[in-house]
Structures are given as C-alpha cells and as structure tokens.
C-alpha cells in the first residue's frame, strides 16, 4: 500500500512527461528497425535476424530505461519531495519499491511497443502465449534488478551528471559483452568468458529460446529467473540500506 502510493505519484509524473518514454525508446528502436534489417542473413539458420536480435534489444531497453531511472532521485531532492517522504513514517523499502514499479511501467510499455514493431516485421513467439507470459515475468525481474541498482547508485553518487556518465559507461559494455548481437560460440577467446559472467547473457538466451524455439527450455529459463530473482533480492536490500544510511548522515 505504501509502495503503491509512491508508485502512483511517480507514474502520474511519467505520463505527464512522455518525453522520458520516447527518449529512452529511440536507441532500441533504431537497433530494431535499422540494424536488424541491415544485418539480416548474418544470423543462424533460417531464423530472421530481427527475431534473433529482439531479446538483446529488450535488454538494452531495460538497461537504458530502468538504468537511468535513478535520476528521479535528484529532482526529488531538488524539489523537496524527497525530504517530505524521508521524514514521514513510511518504510524505506516502500520508497525503493515505488521507484522500481515506476521503472517497470516505463520499460514494459517500451518493450510492448518494440514487440509490436517486431511482430509487424514478421517476428512470432515460438512458445506462444505461455512463452509470452514467461518472457514478461523474466523481463520484470530483470527490470527490478536494474532499477534497484540505479536507485542505489543515485543514493551514493552525489552529482546528477556523474550519475548519467556512470550509467552510460556501464550500459554499453553490459550490452556488447552479452549474447545480444551474437551467440557465445561466435565470440572470440576471452570474450566468451566475459559473456559468460555477464548475467544479462542468461536473460537474453532465455528470451531467445522463448521467441525462436517451439518449446520452453526450462533449465535455461530456471537459471535466468533464479539468477535475476537472487540478484534483485540482493540489490533491493542494498538500495534500502543506501537510502537509510544516506538520509541519516
């Protein structure tokens, strides 16, 4: 209930400022429409490159949308609403959750737009409606993890510009050092190791299975959702702690 109050407030701001939605959608959209068309034929077998690249683009959307979501903390501090919330008896965890749910709405809307465009480009989900539901659940857990990190970072980094620079620095390597653009087997030497230790690789592989294949690879899905649930739990705890310690200096 407490988290819903924060969420409702944040989401109202979001819908009155749709530019935040559009801006974080531009880059994934370019990748989906231009690059997937440009590189068609470079993927494995009969699968179109658009279907192959879509999972990576969904993760890119989460990395940019939920990754930058912590920036709201700076405007909340500036306009005083952060102080108003902190001195109220609300649980610190509810403040973090309200933030994460707002980022989830943003990313799920963007992912829906991208998926509809991919559908128009002849991409179909091999595992059907059930696979789609599994994908949404996995996407939510990935968003939770990224938005949680973003919130914790916004508590620790005092300057807004430094925060943006840090997010941009982290986003690109996490995207390129994953299986977003090519499979692990296609990657050369040391990159195979780096791709293996990037948790987003497991989410992308599982999304790819749900989109391209005709049956769910439960082992792959279990690893991905288990990994991100565990990471989300850790990050949520860290975000709560950073909020607590940075407001009781």
């Amino acid at each position: 209930m407490e988290a819903l109050n924060i969420f409702e407030r944040n989401v109202k701001w979001r819908f009155q400022n749709p530019v935040t939605l559009v801006m974080t959608l531009v880059q994934p959209l370019i990748w989906l429409v231009i690059f997937s068309t440009l590189f068609t034929g470079s993927s494995n077998g009969d699968v179109g490159y658009t279907a192959f690249i879509l999972p990576g683009i969904l993760v890119m959307t989460v990395l940019s949308g939920a990754g930058i979501s912590g920036i709201a903390t700076y405007s909340n501090k500036e306009n005083g609403s952060f102080y108003r919330m902190i001195i109220s008896p609300i649980k610190r965890g509810s403040i973090v959750l309200g933030h994460i749910f707002d980022a989830a709405v943003l990313c799920l809307i963007e992912s829906t737009v991208l998926s509809i465009i991919a559908f128009l480009m002849s991409v179909r989900i091999g595992t059907g409606i059930f696979g789609l539901l599994l994908a949404v659940l996995l996407l939510f857990v990935v968003i939770f993890f990224v938005a949680g990190i973003s919130y914790a970072m916004s508590m620790v980094i005092p300057d807004e510009n430094a925060f943006i620079a840090m997010i941009n620095t982290l986003t690109l390597p996490l995207f390129f050092l994953s299986t977003a653009l090519l499979t692990k087997d296609q990657a050369p030497g040391i990159f195979k190791v780096l791709i293996s230790i990037n948790p987003f690789t497991y989410a992308i592989d599982s999304f790819r299975n749900l989109i391209i294949d005709n049956s769910v690879n439960w082992m792959q899905y279990g690893i991905a959702i288990g990994l991100f649930t565990a990471l989300s739990f850790v990050v949520f705890t860290i975000a709560k702690k950073t909020l607590h310690f940075n407001t009781r200096l």
Binding site: E2, N5, W13, Q16, R84, I87, P89, I90, T247
Partner: protein
C-alpha cells in the same frame, strides 16, 4: 512534559564544518517557539536533526518524551515540517498532493477526506482544489505546503524560515496562519527565522543562537530586559539580538 528537549547537541559534517556545538534548548507543549539566528547559525541543521533527517554527532534529543535515536518511527508519526523551499509536487493537483501526504502517514480514506476538507476551508484553498499545482502563485503554493504538512494532525509543526523572500503582505498572512495552527489546532510550532519582528510578534519563547550554540532562551518580553540593564531605554528585539551576538563575538 516538554514537546522538545535538546541536550548538548553537536553536529559536525564530513568536511569538518561544526554546524551545532553543544546546543541545548527546551520547547514547551503548545507554544510557538522561535529559533533566531543569522545565516549559517545552524538553524536548518537543527531542524533536520529534529525532523529525523540527519543524525547528530553527539548529544540527546527527546521529542514528546521519546528519545529520537531509539523511537524514530514513532516520532515521525507525530511531527511534520514545512521546509524552507516549497516542497509540493507540481505535477499533482492540490487534492492529489494532500492525499499523497495523508497516505504517507497511513491515514484511512475517510479521515483523509475529512481532514482535507477542513484544511482546504481553513486555508482558503477552495478555488484551487482540482487545478494542477504548477499554475498556482507562490503564496498559494506556500499555503498548500503548510496545509499538506498538517494533514496528519502533527503534534509538532516545524517551520523552517517560512516567510523568507515574501513581501510584507504575504508575510502577515503567514503570521495569521501560524497563529491559527498554534491556537486552533493545538499544535506546538517550532519556527526558525532571521526576521526579528516576526519572532517578536509570534513567539511565546525565543532562543537566539549563534555559531551552532544557544546564547539565550526566554520570552520576547524578558529578552528585552537584557538591554534595558545597559544603555537602551525601550529596546526592540533587534537591539537585543545585536547586543547579545556582538557581546559573544567580542
């Protein structure tokens, strides 16, 4: 029982700035207490500690009989603060802002509605209820800011320099609001200001502070005695303030 008791409170920031230096003061229940000091005296730091936003380096704070370091959550339910800068959400309407505030304090829906109507009427905000806050004038925003802070019926209301930058007419309107909050709503008011006239008119008790430490705490009337012992025949609070702060510096 005192509303607030502060004992030898110190606060040093990470950059070694000593904002508060063994400050002690007492605020009685139901009174308007004014903390008077020039810029940088430590007023805002003290308010931030008393509203549970900052943790002191040393010293003890008791609010409504409870230790602030041990009963933070209980104390948060009983207090509210109007910050120096207006802190309302401009993307919400007046009603949405007030409901948001009520939910922060876990008020149930019917209590929120009832309280909101009372405050809207008390603060003359009837004409603005469904408009986006971004369209309001500064004065209306400030009234809403205070009304929001009173949603939870706090026992203590902190006002951190609420009239700074206001013209004299708006400032007088604000004084009426402070009196109304104190008398009609039975709320202890803890006010910080550097306007001496304001402190003189509104306060039951004034504490003058400088360099993070209290110099004197007394009623406005008694404070004026401090200078009659000296040269000035009919001193204003300005004379008292200047005399005391100058005496301490020299």
């Amino acid at each position: 029982m005192e509303a607030i008791k502060v004992e030898k409170l110190s606060k040093a920031y990470k950059n070694n700035t000593q904002a508060l230096n063994e400050l002690s003061l007492n605020v009685k229940r139901g009174e308007v207490f004014t903390l008077l000091g020039s810029n940088g005296a430590g007023k805002s730091t003290l308010i931030n500690i008393l509203t549970t936003f900052l943790r002191p380096t040393s010293g003890k704070v008791t609010i409504l009989g409870k230790d602030i370091s041990k009963n933070t959550k209980e104390i948060r339910r009983e207090i509210s603060c109007v910050a120096q800068k207006i802190s309302i959400d401009s993307h919400l309407t007046l009603r949405e802002n007030m409901l948001f505030q009520g939910r922060l304090y876990k008020m149930d829906h019917s209590s929120m509605e009832e309280r909101m109507e009372t405050l809207i009427s008390s603060f003359g905000l009837e004409d603005y209820t469904n408009e986006r806050v971004s369209t309001y004038s500064g004065g209306i925003k400030r009234r809403l800011d205070i009304a929001m802070s009173l949603m939870s019926s706090p026992k203590i209301l902190f006002l951190d320099e609420p009239t700074v930058g206001m013209d004299i007419e708006s400032r007088r309107a604000m004084w009426d609001i402070v009196r109304q909050v104190s008398r009609e709503m039975n709320t202890t008011v803890f006010l910080t200001t550097h306007y001496l006239e304001e402190a003189d008119i509104l306060s039951d008790t004034i504490c003058i502070m400088q360099d993070g430490h209290e110099i004197v705490q007394d009623t406005p009337q008694n404070l004026k005695q401090y200078t009659t012992k000296q040269v000035i025949k009919q001193p204003t609070l300005d004379d008292v303030f200047l005399a005391l702060t100058h005496e301490r510096r020299s």
